[in-house]
Amino acid sequence: MAERVLDHVEYDRFLDCVHCGLCTSACPTYLETGDENNSPRGRIYLMRAVADGKLPLSDTVQRHLDLCLDCRSCETACPSGVQYGRLIEPFRAATQEQASLAGQDVTRSWFHRGILYGLFPYPNRMKWALAPARWAQRLGLDRLAETLGLFSLFPKKLRRMQRLLPPLPRPERALPVVLSAQGTKRARVGLFTGCVAEAVFSPTNRATARVLQANGCEVVVPPTQVCCGAIHYHSGTAEQALKFALQNVAAFPVDGLDAIIVDVAGGGALVQEYKHIAEELCRENPQQQTALRALAGKMRDVSEFLMELGPVQPTGSLPLKATYHDACHLVHAQRIREQPRDLLELIPDLKLVPLAESDICCGAAGSYNLTEADMADRLAQRKLDNILASGAQVVLSANAGCTLQIQAAIRKSGKPLWTVHPIELLDLSYRNEPPPEFLRVQPTTN
């Protein structure tokens, strides 16, 4: 095992860690367990011990590594610039390789095969799979079904997914391929419509498009784009991630765009990481490498892009008390912390209150809330407690996964709170509209 790890991980990266421990309390799993084995410093120590051959890769060690959310909070906290992600991901790749060499099926569970890889990456399939849920919700039958325990007849993990689902919008027609700028054209941008997000959050993508238009951007939405590959990359199935990445390279006319806008934080961060994928997975193919890098170089989070562009002042008043949750992949992977807040501050009458541990993972973390249900629940609860303590009515979350997770926690608590993408709030303000019906009506409590 030690050699296999050394094949994948650059050993010097271990040495960057000076064992100061400053990252520990930035780590959600350490905050919850208090166990150093579940801290970044501990995990680095464990991985290095395996690499050094000091420890075998036992199930226990594997457990502690699996519990990692890949949230990168440790990278933000680490003053020594340790790139934790570049340790754990290659390490995971090594363990997957080892497992498949040992004849184990890494995508062994029906859940991985059927749901995770089969469903998530494809917006259309996702839509269909969710259709019954959507109808049930619309008719209020989901609550009834939940009360009657009907969902318990589904396999456990699928039940979890059901619980995570937000009130679903009616499936909308795909966005037109080109949307024109309002007023003077200031930029031409591509819009990345992620998979989970497009199915569940198509209103967000539409809001993003409108806000960009309002800011003088011509928006291009290539229909041939696909899932970014985040789930695959973070679950250690690199090949699949690469496949999707290359498909996206083909979809976007990179040269003709000032930026490619992403409103789904997880995907956005990954696209940044296309650079890393390029390095790690296309060592032999310089052409692919260059193309991937170019794509990655154009990727911008919507708030980052707008703040760079200089946002047009929105005018619609939204007298709401709101709090902003930092999605890991925005704040830790892309260091985007101030921009969304700055944008929100522009909305007349919106009161932004601080959220304790705003940048501690809510437990969503890609597919984590499906694979590590226990810890995911604990972190969701922690997030909820902090949200409630903030006294806000609206939780702003810029990441689809976070939104699902937070909404689920809120629904379970029965508290009258709403979760919405910051861009949707901005969109309302640009359009001078009051909060939509669902923001004004108290959600059903159960």
Binding site: V18, H19, C20, S25, G34, D35, E36, C78, P79, A356
Partner: protein, 495 residues
């Protein structure tokens, strides 16, 4: 004294059953979830922020209540095994090292804030609470918890209590001991005692003051009553830029001598500035010999006058320019740079080691000259970032641990610097503690009778030496450890 080695598969001389029995007793107290005893889970507890000496404990326990700590300690006594408390494990002196193995009592699951009382200006907290979490909880109340060690985002209150932690703002506001008024302690024998309390003027010995800084050798703190400090109404944060380190240290002396008590007064030399720029791109001048980060706080009507005096004094000492932080964000960023300076060193060199000497503030120019000279003599690059206002220096010696000879020279240079601190009337540790790292300096700093009095005191309160053995004082208790010759300095975690 038997060590617990017998627990986790040691010799099979019949003691194994005692070990197993003990583990079962622990399990009954903290449950499966509160206990680690597999070798592959104990490994990460073999050291803290000090990585030269290592020893894994035989079992790690995560109690959640004082009562559980009591039971654990009693069992340790019954089975005659050593035990050591641990918080976040950020000690830079090996304060959490389980010398001789035994039981590690990790307090990270006791992290509640039990009470915040603004009227009486105190908070009661559990030991595992992270320092900055208390300040976070106080946000908006107009109060804060003053001690702010650079590791405040990770370190725990019990660790702060054990080492009497400082931080940049302790220049004006004092260190941990000035902000703790009472403690609940589980004694080495497993009794709970209350030291001090909420109210002032108690007719009793200041045992709270004695306990703070005792590095775990008097027992385990399970609750702390801490004083809350009012937020200052206004700040002025300045950055003085100097051509040379000497000018900067002279400015420090001048400021202190003028009777100004800045909230903080920190120095960073060129090497540090370079590393910080690489990490944070603050816009520090790269060609300056040294910069001073100076903060004054107080009333809005007063801070400008003070700031002006400081600016004048800096100029008189030859400052090239004095910049002011113009916004709270800029101030925050400056402080972030300062607090993460150590970490940023990782970007300058593969390994580094830092010292924690103190000199009288009037001797700062001398010690800095000595450090520079020492670096030259030994061919070692040394950079400096430190709490200048307190005279608490943190020279950072850069090296590559793969280079044997260089490593030895670094060790030599470190020792010379600390010896010089003693010679100048200072100390070998201002805030990191003696731990195991500086045991050998205790006899240089203190005379025979000083050490004897301290040892007697420890023997009185920790009679069998089971609690945190071999810390703070060179004469070990019953659980002596083999003298580990220091062969490496180092802040790169070796395995």
């Amino acid at each position: 004294m038997s060590t617990l080695r017998t627990i986790s598969g040691g010799p099979t001389d019949g003691t194994e059953s005692a070990g197993a029995q003990m583990l079962e007793r622990f399990r009954a107290i903290v449950g499966d979830d509160g206990m680690l005893s597999r070798e592959d889970e104990l490994l990460v507890f073999e050291c803290d922020g000090f990585v030269i000496e290592k020893k894994a404990p035989d079992v790690v326990l995560f109690p959640t209540t004082t009562e559980q700590v009591v039971q654990i300690v009693r069992i340790c006594n019954e089975f005659d095994v050593p035990f050591v408390p641990r918080g976040a494990g950020t000690s830079l002196a090996g304060g959490c090292l389980p010398v001789g193995g035994g039981v590690m009592i990790t307090l990270t699951r006791m992290q509640r804030i039990l009470e915040i009382n603004l009227r009486d200006r105190y908070a009661i907290v559990e030991p595992g609470l992270v320092n900055s979490h208390l300040t976070r909880a106080l946000q908006g109340t107009g109060y804060h918890y003053a001690p702010d060690p650079s590791s405040q985002g990770a370190c725990t209150i019990c660790g702060n209590v054990a080492t009497n932690s400082g931080g940049p703002h302790t220049l004006k506001y004092g260190v941990t001991v000035n902000h703790v008024t009472g403690l609940e302690v589980v004694t080495p024998e497993g009794e709970v005692i209350q030291l001090g309390g909420v109210a002032d003027s108690r007719p009793e010995l200041d045992l709270t003051g004695l306990f703070v800084g005792s590095e775990g050798t008097f027992g385990i703190c399970t609750k702390a009553i801490v004083r809350l400090t009012r937020d200052p109404a206004a700040f002025r944060t300045m950055l003085g830029v100097f051509e040379t380190v000497r000018q900067a240290t002279e400015a420090i002396s001048a400021i202190i001598a003028a009777g100004i008590v800045p909230a903080a007064l920190e120095m960073m030399d060129q090497g540090i500035v370079e590393a910080l720029e690489a990490a944070f791109q603050f816009g520090f001048p790269l060609d300056a010999g040294a910069v001073l980060l100076i903060e004054v706080d107080g009333l809005a009507v007063g801070v400008d006058d003070e700031a002006k005096k400081i600016i004048d004094l800096c100029r008189e000492s030859g400052a090239r320019e004095v910049r002011s932080a113009n916004s709270p964000q800029e101030r925050q960023k400056l402080w972030k740079c300062r607090k993460q300076a150590f970490g940023a060193i990782g970007r300058l060199s593969p390994s580094y080691c830092t010292q924690d000497g103190v000199v009288p503030r009037t001797r700062l120019p001398e010690i800095l000259d000595f450090i520079i000279d020492c670096g030259h003599r030994h061919g070692v690059r040394i950079v400096n970032v430190f709490h200048a206002g307190d005279g608490n220096i943190h020279p950072i010696l850069l090296f590559d641990e793969r280079d044997e000879a260089q490593t030895q020279r670094v060790l030599q240079a470190s020792h010379e610097i600390l010896d010089k601190c003693i010679e100048l009337g200072g100390s070998v540790t201002g805030e990191h503690g003696i731990g195991v790292e500086k045991l050998s300096f205790m006899q240089k700093l203190f005379g025979e009778s000083d050490v004897a009095v301290m040892s007697d005191l420890r023997a009185a309160l920790n009679p069998d030496g089971r609690c945190s053995p071999s810390k703070l004082l060179p004469t070990a208790g019953a659980c002596g450890m083999e003298e580990v010759p220091q062969i490496k300095p180092g802040r790169k975690a070796p395995m």
